[in-house]
Amino acid sequence: MKEDLLRIEHVSKSYGENRILKDISLTIHRGEVVVVIGPSGCGKSTLLRCVNGLEPIQQGKITLRGELIDGKSRKITAIRQRVGMVFQNYELFPHMTVLENIVLAPVKVQKKGRREAVEEAEKLLARVGLCGKEESYPRELSGGQKQRVAIVRALIMEPEILLFDEVTAALDPEMVREVLDVLLQLAEQGRTMVIVTHEMAFARAVADRVIFIDQGNIVEQGTPEEFFGNPKSERAKKFLRTFEFEPVSGKTAGAGSAVQSVPGI
């Protein structure tokens, strides 16, 4: 039995009157890759933000190896060093070079030596294919490159768990792959990760467990084979159908007749 790393227990979260997360419970084991999917606005980002204390919760508790995660506590900065987060829009610091972006936290937060941090940064940059970009500014990089820098910036803190919030959603299609490859590489290293994504083929390949959220509830969870092969809930089936396309009917009959068959034209 694997060690429980992160425990989310009966968590509810509201914005004003709006209940966004409704009694969510979820335990993540060390080394597990959990993919969270669900329709837009169902609360996926909110869940991740609660996990590193960026949003306060109204009920329940979240613990990292037994330690309570509470955004208002003074210990939150210590916890956040152990929880890496990568955002949809990279959120690099525009006034700093790639290298400065990466070594800021290890040097200022973890009090590592600058030399050591720089060496580590270079090693990690090389691993994601960004050798030689140390002195570039974020504005000089493509979206895919920026996102890989953001991943390195999180990795260098040696977090126990990594949270990815739709990290490819803002990317052009040809750049999605280079970022997903980095995530696959991290999964192979046995890292604990929670990944929110709309890339279904990737989810299937990378996940140990798939969590399907709808309207603030965990509606269904299971292995990728179970979930994608044989979804049990109606809502999951409906959601998965939105990723499929039927061939356009009447296509073979020729463009002219297809237009004629549309009423009103």
Partner: protein, 224 residues
């Protein structure tokens, strides 16, 4: 060919007196900027507070400064205070008070805008790395705010320099006033000197403000 006043400009101590007048104008704007920029930074931080009282007061201050013509403010401070409180302010002091009052408001609004322009996500990605709030301000928010602010505050200084031409209305003998005196003194011998002398004032102002504008443009490009 008509005498355009070149001769008058170079006669005696005229040029030196005009440059002395320019220095008075520059001194007023530089002292006001030196006082107004730091207090404007404080004001900008206060304007960002969610407290409704500070919000209303700072808003009111800004609106008053924006709505009142600077000349009215100058008259109010220079003549008004003498009547009301019996203060006998030097004209230059009154000018510095008004320009500082104005500069603080303008700078405060620039700082407020620059701070508001830093996206919430910049704070969050700093927090997610384990930075404390003071560290987020020190390493992320303030450096980005300053980069936006430096060109804007330099432009504010050039605007102040230009606006100092109003202070002659309360009797400060700055470049424009000196020039009028010289024109007056040469009215009979050189009736056409006004064109050349005001032209010289134009060149003086240009030479004072242009390098500052260039610097602002350069910094803006460098940090955009």
């Amino acid at each position: 060919m008509p005498d355009l006043g070149i001769e008058v400009l170079f006669a005696g101590r005229n040029m030196a007196r005009m440059l002395g007048g320019l220095w008075v104008a520059l001194r007023i704007s530089l002292v006001s900027a030196a006082l107004g920029i730091p207090s404007g930074i404080l004001l900008g931080v206060v304007m960002r507070m969610k407290n409704p009282v500070t919000k209303i007061l700072t808003r009111l201050y800004l609106e008053v400064v924006r709505i009142l013509p600077q000349l009215v403010l100058l008259f109010l401070v220079f003549f008004g205070t003498t009547r009301m409180f019996g203060w006998n302010l030097e004209a230059e002091t009154a000018a510095i008070i008004v320009f500082t009052f104005w500069g603080t408001a303008e700078m405060g609004d620039l700082v407020r805008g620059a701070l508001a322009g830093i996206p919430a996500h910049q704070y969050e990605s700093g927090a997610a790395l384990g930075l404390t709030m003071p560290q987020i301000y020190r390493f992320i928010v303030i450096p980005q705010t300053l980069r936006r602010l430096i060109p804007l505050s330099i432009n504010l200084v050039t605007r102040m320099i230009k606006t100092t031409s109003l202070v002659m209305m309360i009797g400060v003998v700055e470049v424009l006033k000196v020039t009028q005196q010289i024109i007056e003194a040469n009215r009979v011998a050189h009736p056409q000197a006004a064109f050349g002398l005001y032209g010289a004032v134009f060149v003086f102002y240009f030479l004072a403000c242009w390098p500052i504008s260039l610097l602002a443009g350069y910094l803006e490009k460098k940090w955009s």
